[in-house]
């Protein structure tokens, strides 16, 4: 009996130590993301830094190395540098799929746990975990909203840059408005830049006498669009639908701004989700391998407060 108690106590002690040990287990997580070249990537950097502080406080043995790169080629170099430092996990938002598939494969071959965020690799077998927003849905939800609200009318579209993400959003939008009387008058690239979107919108306003709504799929561009409409003093435009979830636009939605009635979520904080899940894999032994796709939630006046981050730069 006594033996048993001692045995139990020892076992309890051992497991307690084991627990403490698990928290102190030394894990190095590398986070490789694009540099803050526009609002959304700025948000990614912000949320990655926030998550780093939080996770390192929660798991004392965890060391997170955060590295931003201005383009695909330098990200490939950064990945090599990070690997030589001896990492256990890599969380990466690749600049583009094709260029970075092989560099990430090389990291994987070293036995590193690989989490890919937002942009899928050409070979999905490389990743252990994939966390992403849903670009097709972002377009579809916006299209659906315009279809439901307008029923029929003329819409202009401002695209981002000619890359896969943008292409998927366009397809989703077309799917969303399918079977309605909505007519897309024009599609031009605004490069996800406020200034370029301002210009394109000014030109749309000169070109088209009647526009019912604008879909510009990105909140940064929506800023430029609103300014151009205000300048032209046009009243035919009923509303503008952006996307991503920039704090200023979420605030407009919450305040009931007639021009920005909704926003479609594509949150840069997904990087933090990916880092949390990756850490959970090492410390909490939770099963996380697989794909984790975030919804393109329609933000309306009712739920806007849930998605408002006043301290975020984006």
């Amino acid at each position: 009996m006594r033996k048993l108690v001692i045995g139990l106590a020892a076992a309890a002690m051992a497991s307690a130590f084991g627990m403490a040990h698990a928290q102190d287990k030394s894990v190095t997580m590398a986070v490789s993301i694009p540099a803050a070249d526009h609002g959304w990537t700025g948000g990614v950097v912000y949320h990655a830094e926030q998550a780093k502080t939080k996770l390192e406080a929660r798991y004392p043995g965890l060391k997170i190395i955060l590295k931003t790169s201005p383009d695909g080629a330098s990200q490939a170099n950064a990945l090599e540098d990070l690997t030589t430092q001896g990492i256990n996990a890599l969380v990466t938002l690749p600049h583009n799929s094709d260029e970075l598939t092989d560099p990430i494969r090389q990291v994987k071959d070293k036995g590193v746990f690989v989490t890919v965020v937002d942009r899928a690799l050409s070979d999905p077998k490389i990743q252990d975990l994939y966390v992403a927003g849903n670009n097709f849905e972002l377009g579809r939800v916006a299209g659906q909203y315009i279809k439901d609200t307008l029923k029929s009318g003329d819409v202009v579209v401002i695209r981002g840059l000619p890359i896969v993400i943008d292409e998927e959003r366009q397809k989703g939008f077309d799917e969303g408005i399918k079977g309605s009387e909505i007519k897309v008058l024009d599609r031009q690239f605004g490069n996800w830049s406020r200034d370029d979107a301002f210009k394109v919108m000014q030109d749309y306003l000169s070109k088209h006498q009647k526009i019912d709504a604008v879909w510009c799929q990105d909140d940064d561009m929506a800023v430029g669009v609103l300014e151009a409409i205000q300048q032209a003093k046009r009243t035919d435009i009923k509303f503008v639908v952006g996307g991503a979830g920039m704090k200023d636009m979420i605030k407009k939605v919450a305040d009931g701004d007639a021009m920005i009635p909704v926003d479609v979520l594509y949150p840069p904080s997904m990087i933090a989700t990916a880092m949390e899940l990756t850490a959970a894999n090492f410390y909490d032994q939770l099963p996380v391998r697989g794909s984790f796709t975030l919804d393109a939630t329609l933000v309306t006046k009712d739920n806007a407060s849930e998605y408002y981050f006043p301290d975020s730069p984006f």
């Binding site: 948000g43 210009k199 030109d203």
Partner: protein, 350 residues
């Protein structure tokens, strides 16, 4: 040999042709005809573009559209006027786009502190600070090129990265917006307002260009700029302080960037990571389209303004037309710019 090269260059220009060409009596009259046509050529290209625009879309000639385009060209035009000085003196400044973002960022951050009471007083002080920062950025570029004796390409490539990174650092990766809506409202007319139907940014282009033209064509400093750009050694032997002149051109460039920022900030009320992206290339293109030689020694302020307008018009016509797929716009823009240059060349040869 070098001296003759320099003098013929100096004599070849319209404005000081008289005082210098007395030395080169043998300069043929034909040279004058050439130069005149070259100065006119960018305006001819502009006229052709107007015609093209009118054919593409009837709304193109609408007064609103034309004023939009004119107003939009202000940033590049004003920066390119500064670039005309730098390039005429044989230099190059790749940092102007990043510098614009940096000046805009610091200016807005100052306005957000609200240390000066009264909206207009605050705006005034902020503008002076912006001009000061622009001038200092230019001075840094100039001193590093001249005193450091480093190629301007390398110096300004370096400062391009530095200014851009500083802006992103100040913005903590996001954008730097003007916080006070009242201040924003007070400042807004600088971009959107107009005097007697002429938008304020257009007036700013004209004033900056007039001052620039006066300095470049009518002052001793302007003549020194050309001399340094034509032949540095000859200028030095003639007693021109080459380093001081070069440095000054960078300071002028910095001030021009700051003036462009003064007009840029009220438009969207924020500095973002995309502010000023690739403006350096557009400014240099505007300068070259305007007839200024990249190798230095020739500078055309009004040609530069015309070049900036051409660039902006090409973009506008592309959006207004339905003929070109949105994927091919870049290619057509490139082709139009090359054709505009070819038209110029053929005019100049005649």
């Amino acid at each position: 040999m070098g001296a003759r090269h320099c003098l013929s260059h100096l004599g070849g220009r319209n404005d000081c042709g008289q005082n210098m060409s007395t030395n080169t009596t043998a300069a043929p009259r034909r040279a004058f005809a050439n130069i005149d046509l070259r100065a006119v050529a960018p305006f001819f290209a502009l006229a052709v573009l107007f015609l093209l625009g009118a054919l593409v879309n009837t709304n193109f000639l609408g007064i609103d559209n034309l004023l939009n385009v004119l107003t939009r060209s202000a940033f590049i035009a004003i920066i390119a006027i500064g670039a005309t000085f730098v390039i005429s003196a044989g230099g190059l400044d790749l940092s102007v786009g990043s510098m614009a973002a940096f000046v805009a960022g610091t200016m807005i951050l100052f306005m957000n502190t609200g240390t000066v009471t009264g909206d207009y007083a605050l705006l005034g002080v902020a503008m002076l600070i912006a001009l000061g920062i622009g001038g200092l950025c230019g001075l840094a570029n100039g001193l590093m090129t001249t005193l450091g004796r480093i190629e301007p390409f390398i110096v300004t490539l370096g400062t391009m990265g530095i200014f851009r990174a500083l802006t992103i650092y100040l913005a903590e990766g996001g954008s730097i917006p003007m916080k006070s809506q009242a201040l924003r409202a007070a400042y807004r007319p600088v971009y959107f307002g107009s005097v007697a139907g002429v938008p304020i940014p257009v007036i700013v282009i004209l004033v900056v260009a007039a001052i620039g033209a006066f300095i470049l064509y009518r002052t001793r400093f302007g003549r020194h700029v050309m001399a340094v750009g034509s032949n540095e050694d000859v200028a030095r032997y003639s007693g021109v302080s080459v380093n001081r002149v070069r440095t000054m051109t960078y300071v002028i460039q910095g001030i021009c960037v700051a003036i462009a920022v003064l007009v840029y900030v009220p438009r969207l009320g924020a500095a973002t990571p995309t502010t000023g992206l690739l403006w350096e290339l557009q400014a240099i293109t505007a300068v070259v389209i305007g007839g200024t030689a990249l190798r230095g020694g020739v500078g055309r302020i009004w040609g530069t303004v015309c070049g900036a307008l051409i660039l902006e018009l090409v973009g506008n016509i592309m959006v207004l037309s339905d003929l070109v797929s949105e994927y091919l716009i870049g290619a057509v823009q490139g082709a139009i710019i090359i054709i505009a240059m070819l038209i110029q060349r053929s005019l100049a040869r005649r």
